[in-house]
């Protein structure tokens, strides 16, 4: 089953590994990568909780709309689970 997710559109100051251009964008989980130390804690020298990391695939149409060179081309990025929210399949 394809799992659809949206990158949370929070914009805190400081070090976050979810790129700004992907925030608020919807994609599908391409694969699970396992758990890794939370960079938001590692970056400040703090003990880091392990967080699940996913490779999420977005279409260029989703990212850039009409500006996409070829809408069906894709972009994959690694996003931590706490930056993803599930999108129900029947969502508008």
């Amino acid at each position: 089953m394809v799992k659809r997710v949206r990158v949370r559109s929070l914009m805190p100051p400081g070090h976050v590994r979810a790129p700004a251009y992907l925030r608020g964008k919807t994609g599908v989980i391409e694969r699970s990568l396992g758990a890794f130390g939370n960079p938001e804690q590692l970056a400040y020298g703090l003990p880091a909780e392990k967080k699940p990391l996913f490779r999420v695939r977005f279409t260029m149409a989703e990212l850039w709309g009409d500006q996409a060179e070829r809408p069906a081309d894709t972009l994959d990025a690694e996003i931590y689970g706490h930056w993803l929210e599930e999108v129900p399949d029947h969502a508008p």
């Binding site: 070090h15 130390g37 590692l42 970056a43 400040y44 020298g45 990212l63």
Partner: protein
């Protein structure tokens, strides 16, 4: 910066200078010994602001980030750094003279 407008990709390259290779080595060694994390370096690089990217070269930004993390980690103090940088300036006018090899 992903998705920002930008000009053509500049294709020219250069071979790394000795001081640049040393910055790279210090980054790898200190992080493998647990004095900072790669995330800590990235955070310091980002905190320099966008214009640091225009004003400074890659390894200039990286030595600044390495230093920032080592000071924060208490490996040495800013006073020790500043005193040493002053001494080094007096050794000679070129990298070779100042680095003593």
């Amino acid at each position: 910066m992903g998705g920002d407008a930008a000009g053509p990709v500049p294709m020219e390259g250069h071979d790394f200078a000795l001081w640049e290779k040393r910055v790279d080595a210090l980054m790898v060694l200190c992080s493998s010994k647990g004095h900072f994390t790669v995330d800590g370096l990235r955070r310091a690089l980002e905190d320099m602001g966008e214009d640091a990217f225009e004003k400074h070269s890659y390894y200039e930004r990286w030595i600044a980030a390495v230093n920032q993390n080592l000071v924060e980690g208490g490996v040495y103090t800013l006073e020790e750094l500043a005193t040493r940088m002053d001494e080094i300036a007096a050794r000679g006018a070129t990298y070779g003279e100042a680095a003593r090899g």
